[in-house]
Amino acid sequence: MVAAVNVSRFEGVTMAPPDPILGVSEAFKADTDEKKLNLGVGAYRTEELQPYVLDVVKKAENLMLERGENKEYLPIEGLAAFNKVTAELLFGADNSVLKEQRVATVQGLSGTGSLRLAAALIERYFPGAKVLISSPTWGNHKNIFNDARVPWSEYRYYDPKTVGLDFEGMIADIKAAPGGSFILLHGCAHNPTGIDPTPEQWEKIADVIQEKNHIPFFDVAYQGFASGSLDNDASSVRLFATRGMELLVAQSYSKNLGLYAERIGAMNVVCSSSDLAARVKSQLKRLARPMYSNPPVHGARIVANVVGNPALFDEWKAEMEMMAGRIKNVRQKLFDSLSAKDKSGKDWSFILRQIGMFSFTGLNKAQSDNMTNKWHVYMTKDGRISLAGLSLAKCEYLADAIIDSYHNVS
């Protein structure tokens, strides 16, 4: 019998490092200390620190099961009912961009998959065009553009001195970019900093983008989680759309509908005509096909059922407010604990100004490591903590850990 040769063809393959964000949960699981706290991944937890499946999601799934729906392939662009409601949720059902059919909406594999589709579109139809990403930004953004072979550079965003927005730097860097660049903006609840531009600042950002003929590219992963209101959180996107600008918008339902593992999101491209939108949609389909042929149906149906059903939609809005509310309470309690325990007089109020699931603590890598190694608090090395993984009960412990790391480690 002819046997195969002895050396592996893959002998030269090196061990890749763990993912900086998802790897945190793996490390957390392996930790046996009972005080351990997972503030790594942006996944909502109840006060009892349990994962949360929304009631409306359970209701939708029961409805779907009762109907005995089949599992036929979706079209490449995804579930039509989903595409319709997702665009309406984002732009508002009465928005002229929808009435004029100027939006190409394609179901994507949550935020990541939708961003990847857009990156593939940019690579193919805007050769050489750059994407500008905020400094800092979600850790996976650069990986997506790297793998899609889209060049990127950073615009100033976080100012460590003020623990706020470096607005002058941001505007200057966007202005300095070659015309026709794609500017990646977080629609609300910036990840990782929690710092969002004000409405006035959004206007100025739109001004300079128009001036330079750039294309705004929104990542909307937290609609509803920033203020608790789905409409308010979409205001930045709607501001740009109202100006008649063309734009790209990636959406995710991982957090706001708790559908993390179902991988449900969408890529929306607002074009200046309906004909262009049709053409762009056809190309997005062409880019999706060699990735996975057609997207998964389950999450799409859940969203379509929840958002498309007035009663369930209202219930969802209430659950959304509840989740955002819990995070606001935890934020307040953390701030209170830090202020009470820290005798140095350091101003921790930036925590209250930050928006959304995360807080950018200002801790550096060594200090973040101390959080983990000494206090068994798991977070990402950039100093980001997920308040969604924090309970009121643990705020004091966390405050102790932060104070120790900040003052005793350099």
Binding site: V53, N140, A206, Y292, H298
Partner: protein, 416 residues
């Protein structure tokens, strides 16, 4: 404020950023299916897409799947937290067991990396990307013909493609000598895409003896096998359909395997599958897995949970597994019956040509041998829709429609 915005709207009335984006051409099979949908004829038959249909022409939700879904919905401890990048661990273990066999040496020796992917498509794409990045040979050989979407995965990964002879139009069977010749002439180390069973579009599978010859030749030439397994259990039975894969694993060599549960569990839209890389050692397998994660994370972060949970529930429970296997047998029996009925009907009509390939071919499809004009004739005159290459989906046929299809084929062959 309003006038400011409408001014700005006017300013941006210039050229669109997307002006250079052309409308993409329709994918041929999709265009055919769209035409079917729009066809008002009550006689129309859809034999295009590779999806199973009941005798009544309806999609089928397997009872085992329905049962699994009920269990999942009732499970109060279930959540929707992100899966690991590599997917649901239990799903991966069970999928590997299914294709390689529970007593596979590769599994026992812990040298297989199995990662959940988006059905066969996603598994092929991630495998292709992995080879493009980490394997020294960048040419992949595809059978002539092969599943329509195969070239797209490899093209997207940046791999070059060549073909090997497979289908012999003279016999409507396997061009085995041609296949061996082409593989023998391939550059050392080249990647070869093989379909384990239920070859799409031809329905022609090598025999066990032929597989052994293929294996020997490929190992001699150091060719890297990449198996596409979309029909395990849909052709003969679970073990027989996995035999080619197991033969290659048994010799201690390496290979890639893409699995799909789309057809075999009717989970099409859930996108459930797995990519396995069988390596020489545990250490290599774990390094390979770490690199697969780096490819998956920037594409979609982690795979969808629902379909994988269904598969897991069925594979891990003896009773549900038996129920599934029994249901599968009913589906494959129906297809076998339809093959016989169609063959008989063509014999009865004295349709010119040898139609024995209809019963010789296995799995979901039959490559009829009809040419492009004949296929167009069938669509136009009989409202019977199939792939432009003459492939028909046997699972889309009903006993009632067999006489009509036979009439149509007879007309096409004698008039066109």
């Amino acid at each position: 404020m309003e006038s400011k915005n409408s001014e700005k709207a006017k300013e941006s009335d210039g050229d669109s950023a997307f002006e250079q984006v052309a409308r993409a051409a329709d994918i041929p099979i999709y265009a055919v299916m769209a035409a079917f949908r729009e066809d008002p004829s009550p006689m129309k038959l859809n034999l295009g897409f590779g999806v199973y249909r009941t005798e009544e022409g309806k999609p089928l939700l397997l009872n085992a799947v329905r049962q699994a879904e009920q269990l999942l919905v009732n499970d109060l401890s279930a959540d929707k937290e992100y899966l690991p990048i590599t997917g649901l661990p239990e799903f991966n273990k069970l999928s590997a067991k299914l294709i390689f066999g529970a007593d596979s040496p590769a599994i026992k020796e812990n040298r297989v990396s199995t990662v959940q992917c988006l059905s066969g498509s996603g598994s092929l794409r991630i495998g292709a990307d992995f080879l493009a990045k980490h394997y020294y040979q960048h040419t992949v050989y595809l059978s002539q013909p092969t599943y329509g979407n195969h070239p797209n995965f490899f093209a997207a990964a940046g791999l070059a493609m060549k073909t090997y002879h497979y289908y012999d139009p003279k016999t409507n069977g396997l061009d085995f000598q041609g296949m061996l010749q082409d593989l023998g002439a391939a550059a050392s180390g080249a990647i070869v895409l093989l379909q384990a069973s239920g070859h799409n579009p031809t329905g022609i599978d090598p025999t066990a003896q032929q597989w052994e010859q293929i294996r020997q030749l490929m190992r001699l030439k150091r060719l890297l096998p990449f198996f596409d397994c979309a029909y395990q259990g849909f052709v003969m039975n679970m073990d027989a359909d996995a035999l080619p894969v197991r033969m290659f694993v048994a010799d201690g060599g390496e290979c890639l395997v893409a699995q799909s549960y789309s057809k075999t569990m009717g989970l099409y839209g859930e996108r459930v599958g797995a990519l396995s890389v069988v390596c020489k050692t545990t250490d290599v397998a774990s390094r390979v897995e770490s690199q697969l994660k780096l490819l998956i994370r920037p594409m979609y972060s982690n795979p969808p949970i629902h379909g994988a949970s269904i598969v897991t529930a069925i594979l891990k429970d003896r009773e549900m597994y038996s129920r599934w296997v029994t249901e599968l047998k009913q589906l494959t029996d129906r297809i076998a019956t339809l093959r016989q009925q169609l063959h008989l009907a063509l014999l009865d009509r004295g349709t010119p040509g040898d139609w024995s390939h209809i019963t010789r071919q296995v799995g979901m499809f039959s490559l009829t041998g009809l040419n492009a004009e004949q296929v167009a004739f069938l669509i136009k005159e009989y409202h019977i829709y199939m792939s432009p290459d003459g492939r028909i989906n046997m699972a889309g046929l009903s006993s009632k429609a067999v006489p009509y299809l036979a009439d149509a084929i007879h007309a096409a062959v004698t008039l066109v």
